[in-house]
């Protein structure tokens, strides 16, 4: 079942000038990689809800880590603890945590580290060894949380020289050479997911990719958020990002130009 209603915000936390977290209590079982569809207005505009992935699950307390990218996320950023927010969820398939037994690799880019952080915490509590490689344009977010659950943590930045320079994919090859992983998970910008997919393809491996697309209903009715997959009756098939996804295996996704 999915919750659909209004809840009080329990906590908020500002990470930097554009990233923040908020927590709410939801009376439903939530999996890492699932998302909620937030009403991000009290005036009717913006019209459509904003799909936001969970970044932390502790009993019934669900945390969302959000980057301000427009009016909807700015509205959410302005909410304070005690304020009410309307949301629907959990939605989507989420990550499959059953495929990893011993050691797993997490790859995150930008605000894509948010759902990866929730996943890492969940895997660690299952006694899985978790290595992480996370990349940012400038300063990292959620670094402390990643330090806590990661056995090996690689932090990469394009602009901040305190960290390893460049993109996560530049360090991936070496990390994959050094350790044996029984599952790989990734979330980040499409270019990163594509580069990760290409690299894994060349090594005969695959990852669980948490993807995104602009959505309207978030529950599988409107068919505006699609992911193109290999095979199917048309030589490919369009599936719903919000319903069949947002997690897809890297070897089934067709990345368009």
């Amino acid at each position: 079942m999915a919750f659909n209603g209004t809840v009080k915000i329990l906590n908020t936390e500002q990470h930097d000038h554009e990233n923040f977290s908020l927590s709410v209590a939801i009376p439903e079982t939530v999996k890492p990689g699932q998302f909620f569809n937030f009403l991000a207005t009290d005036s009717g505009m913006p019209l459509l809800r904003r799909p936001i992935s969970v970044s932390g699950i502790e009993d019934n307390v669900i945390t969302f880590t959000i980057k301000v990218v427009g009016k909807g996320t700015q509205y959410l950023a302005n909410l304070k603890s005690g304020d009410e927010v309307a949301l629907t969820g959990p939605l989507g398939n989420g990550f499959d945590l059953t495929t990893t037994k011993k050691r797993t690799l997490l790859i995150g880019g930008g605000i894509g580290v948010a759902p990866i952080k929730g996943l890492g915490e969940a895997l660690r509590s299952m006694d899985i060894i978790v290595d992480s490689v996370i990349g940012f344009r400038e300063n990292p977010i959620l670094e402390a949380a990643f330090l806590k659950f990661s056995t090996q943590l690689t932090v990469v930045s394009e602009k901040n020289d305190t960290y390893k320079k460049g993109y996560v994919t530049q360090y991936l090859e070496q990390i994959l050479d050094e350790n044996e992983y029984d599952e790989i998970y990734a979330c980040g910008p499409k270019v990163m997911l594509r580069a990760v997919t290409d690299m894994l393809n060349s090594r005969g491996k695959r990852a669980q990719l948490l993807m995104e697309e602009k959505m309207a209903c978030g529950i599988g009715a409107c068919l505006v958020c699609t992911c193109k997959l290999k095979d199917g009756e048309f030589g490919s098939k369009m599936v719903r990002m919000c319903k069949e996804g947002p997690m897809f295996y890297s070897d089934e996704v067709i990345f368009d130009e």
Binding site: L47, T88, C222
Partner: protein
């Protein structure tokens, strides 16, 4: 007041209440079952059907606009045979009317679909001659009076089912089209389909949608829809199923006062998965407040005192 009469008669299609859902915004109902009781819906117009399955359009399919959205889905659907085999039995579990929304590339395709559905368990056929998101057919059918006449006549001859014709707002004179639809045997008119719209990414200097334009829906189109419903109300005597940006009970009442017998919620379902229930409650509240017992009284019930 428990004695409100919410029944409406759309010229042979009797709905328990006037709140229906618009084609393409409610799938085949399944996605909404976790959120609301489908028995509460007057009728469900299912996702637009074609003879064969369709994959839909490539690329970005949505642009959010001020109080609206432009979609370019392109009639992605599993085809009429899948609908008959899998979706009708599902929908029949509920006490709601089933409207099969049909789309074709040619008059022959529309006719073929009407023939196929004629012997199936649907309560009505909605002839969609107004989809802006497909290359052939669709909108091209709905804007040309001669073609409208041809396709409505042909489909009417192909089926005994209750027949709704869905009109596009993208015409110069909607009254002329409505009259043709009525004269050729349609039982009911639904309107409006989406308004054609376009949006540009100013940094890439490219249209956001691959097909350049798509269909605008949501509260942004409501005043257009109210005006066109009123125009059609003045032009024909068959019932009207009004839609376009309905979010609340007040919106629904506005459509009925303009001349609609029943209404459909479209984009509103995306924003609020229980919109049907909320709109229905809002209508009831209005009827109680205005001390009007029967919702059918609202049709065209404008105060004409100057």
């Amino acid at each position: 007041m428990n004695n409100l009469d919410l029944k409406v008669d759309l010229n042979g299609l009797i709905l328990d209440n006037p709140v229906t859902v618009a084609s393409g915004t409610f799938g085949f109902g399944r996605e909404f079952e976790p959120y609301l009781d489908l028995n509460e819906i007057g009728a469900i117009s299912v996702k637009g059907l074609t003879l064969e399955p369709r994959q839909g359009n490539e690329g970005v399919r949505i642009v959010e606009t001020p109080m609206g959205m432009i979609n370019s889905v392109g009639l992605q659907n599993p085809g009429v045979h899948h609908f008959i085999e899998h979706e009708i039995p599902y929908l029949r579990q509920f006490n709601t009317k089933i409207i099969a929304n049909i789309n074709g590339n040619t008059t022959q395709e529309y006719v073929r679909m009407a023939e196929i559905l004629n012997s199936e368990d649907v309560d009505s056929i909605e002839l969609n001659i107004s989809c802006p998101n497909v290359k052939n057919g669709g909108l091209a059918f709905g804007t040309n009076p001669k073609v409208v006449e041809e396709v409505v006549k042909a489909v009417r001859n192909a089926t005994d089912k209750h027949l709704i014709v869905k009109l596009t707002p993208n015409v110069t004179d909607i009254k002329e089209i409505a009259k043709i639809v009525e004269a050729n045997g349609a039982n009911c008119i639904s309107l409006i389909n989406t308004v054609t719209g376009m949006a540009i990414d100013i940094y890439q200097r490219k249209p956001i949608l691959k097909r350049k334009s798509g269909g605008l829906s949501g509260p942004a189109v409501k005043p257009i829809a109210i005006k066109l419903v009123h125009d059609v109300y003045q032009a024909v005597s068959i019932p009207i199923l009004g839609m376009g940006g309905i979010m609340t009970g007040e919106d629904a009442v506005e459509f009925m006062l303009a001349g609609a017998d029943a209404i459909a919620i479209g984009t509103g379902n995306f924003v609020n998965p229980t919109a049907v229930i909320d709109v229905k409650k809002g209508i009831e509240k209005y009827l109680e407040y205005m001390e009007i017992k029967s919702v059918s009284k609202l049709k065209g019930y404008l105060n004409t005192v100057e």
